[in-house]
């Protein structure tokens, strides 16, 4: 009976359980982490622009202001102006920075349409019906029958496990 009570009196647990329990909780939570990592990886596969887009704010304007060596007066005057321009620049940047497709899709609010209307969302093919997932070794690519206990990646042999542990283990998680 007492065992059924979750998180019951700590006194009754052995010290080992007490030590391990939080770790178990963390491990359970980490399955969620693994999912997140897998999703992030799929996201990376879809990325169109190989490089993170860095919007270059043209620094020329700032340079010219400083480089002119103008008097204090002007600078103080320009302070007010500057705030405006900075705001304006931000606005411009916001306008210039392209929205991602996901954002556009979200704004389009396709969920609101009735069920029978074919949309981007309803055209997705959906989960597979029959085939089970096959696993391939993360290191060499051959069929893998072992799972890494720390990160959930797959490997096929001891050799690959060693390589995996040295190089990539937890790479996608931490």
């Amino acid at each position: 009976m007492e065992d059924d009570v979750p998180g019951g009196p700590l006194r009754r647990m052995s010290s080992r359980i007490r030590r391990v329990a939080p770790k178990m909780v963390a491990a359970l939570a980490s399955s969620d982490n693994r999912e997140q990592a897998a999703l992030a990886r799929l996201e990376a596969l879809e990325s169109d622009n190989a490089f993170a887009e860095v919007m270059e704010v043209s620094s020329e304007e700032d340079d010219s202001l400083d480089g002119d060596g103008q008097a204090h007066m002007q600078r103080r005057q320009s302070k007010n102006m500057k705030r405006k321009t900075r705001q304006g620049k931000a606005m411009e940047n916001a306008k210039r920075a392209p929205r991602t497709f996901i954002e556009i899709l979200h704004d389009a609010n396709l969920e609101a349409l009735p069920r029978h209307v074919p949309t981007y969302l309803r055209a997705a093919v959906g989960p597979p019906s029959a085939s089970a997932r096959r696993y391939f070794c993360a290191v060499c690519g051959f069929a893998a029958c072992y799972t890494c206990v720390r990160c959930g990646a797959r490997f096929c042999s001891c050799r690959c496990q060693v390589i995996h542990n040295e190089t990539r283990c937890l790479k996608f998680i931490s």
Partner: protein, 435 residues
């Protein structure tokens, strides 16, 4: 300028932008739809479209910016740059006196359509404008070549492109959009996957999108029997039929990557399964010395930047048929096709299975059609015939359909003119295209 009609046909894909004049057989320009900038010094200027293909351009660590995200146009500024280059620089066309036939992806989102209309009419000032979708154009083109398709009047178009794959039924030149199914895998995802694999296993190529794209096109193929091929790929040295080497450009002697021993890389396709197995075993004893010498050649040359590929060659395109292996919760291509067909009226099923057309650049992998046939057969009824039609040039298939449509006499009537756009606005004009 060609002698044909004043219609510009533009198949604006996520990867390649195909542009030319209606009525022609081939487009004038097939260029990457992106802007690129070299990483090192002198990398101030963005190169547009065809400039990236010039032989002297160093493609290593090219920073790319694409106007497309997940197959849809999101950045009209970049698109304007590319179109400007293509239309004015390569086609030498004057938009004010020409019509435009633009190919849009299926299920385009209204806000993107509006932005596209703005780009077409306000930035470029085209005289008139027509929007088509790729499945109907492919059907149109194939029906003009194949009388059986013309009488059937319907087909199932599998468009395996850069950003995604669509299986869409077409009936009497209209795409049945309630039947279309999308698989979120295309050439781009495969390239990125190959990039990831190669970077982990041999050389870091995470920044070399162009080069890995090239390696993928030259070396990847679809396996007809994955387990057997995996066994074969395990062999070492010369016995391994799939092992091949891709040499990265070094910027001095070569600016483009290439495959070492091209014939060697594809010999397994000619000497198929039964022969290759015992042959390799008997040769082992007799020509051992020779083998070791050859093996020396085949070993990675450290002075050059190159990488070996074995099982990656078929495991990468394999993902289109089994996305689940990648961790995606999506059905494979064969099931995608079946679902697309089953969404239509039952009377159409046998006809659709009999006329499956493959188009798009990712169907160019060797043995793609055979594998699809092999996977589809068990999924459909015994008494249905199954026929897969491959296009002679899958990349240009859509464009040629567009060219055909543009040269038809009543094309101008279907268009929306600039005047109509100015009067009624975008949404109203779009209704004409039945989207």
């Amino acid at each position: 300028m060609s002698s044909s009609s004043g219609v510009i046909v533009l198949d604006n894909g996520g990867g390649l932008c195909k542009a030319g004049f209606g009525g022609d057989r081939d487009p004038v320009a097939v260029v990457p739809n992106c802007l690129g900038r070299p990483a090192g010094a002198g990398g101030k200027r963005w190169m547009v479209a065809d400039q990236l293909l010039a032989p002297e351009v160093d493609v290593t660590s090219l920073a790319l910016r694409r106007p497309f995200d997940r197959g849809y146009l999101i950045n009209t500024d970049l698109q304007r740059e590319v179109w400007d280059r293509v239309l004015r620089g390569l086609l030498h066309a004057d938009p004010a006196h020409t019509s435009l036939l633009l190919v849009e992806p299926l299920f385009n989102i209204p806000s993107i359509q509006r932005a596209t209309d703005e780009l077409v009419f306000e930035d470029f000032g085209f005289q008139s404008f027509y929007v088509a979708d790729s499945p109907s154009l492919v059907h149109l083109y194939e029906a003009s070549r194949c009388p059986a398709l013309a009488t059937a009047q319907c087909s199932l178009v599998v468009d395996c492109g850069f950003s995604f794959t669509h299986a869409a039924p077409v009936l009497q030149n209209f795409t049945l959009n309630y039947g279309a199914r999308r698989l979120d895998l295309g050439g781009k995802a495969l390239t990125n996957y190959l990039k990831e694999l190669v970077s982990y296993r041999s050389v870091n190529v995470m920044d070399e999108t162009f080069i890995i794209d090239d390696a993928k096109e030259k070396l990847c193929f679809v396996s007809l029997d994955v387990t057997r091929d995996l066994h074969l790929a395990r062999r070492s040295g010369k016995d391994n039929p799939f092992k091949c080497t891709y040499v990265l450009p070094d910027g001095i002697t070569c600016t483009k990557g290439f495959v070492k021993d091209k014939d060697e890389a594809w010999r397994f396709l000619s000497s198929r399964d039964v022969q290759s197995l015992p042959l390799a075993a008997t040769r082992e004893g007799t020509a051992h010395l020779e083998d070791t010498e050859k093996a020396k050649d085949r070993r990675i040359d450290l002075t050059k930047n190159e990488f070996n590929m074995t099982n990656e060659r078929f495991l990468v395109p394999e993902m289109i048929f089994r996305p689940a292996d990648l961790g995606m919760n999506e059905a494979g291509l064969a099931e995608c096709v079946v679902r697309a067909v089953h969404a239509c009226h039952p009377h159409l099923h046998p006809v659709l299975f009999e006329s499956i057309i493959l188009t798009g650049g990712s169907t160019l992998f060797p043995q793609f059609a055979e594998r699809l046939q092999q996977e589809l057969r068990p999924l459909i009824r015994d008494d249905y015939r199954l026929k897969i039609i491959t296009q002679e040039d899958p990349i240009l298939g859509v464009w040629r359909g567009g060219s055909l449509l543009a040269s038809s006499p009543d094309f101008e009537e279907m268009c929306v003119t600039k005047l109509e756009y100015e009067e009624f606005g975008s949404a109203r004009c779009r209704r004409r295209f039945f989207h």
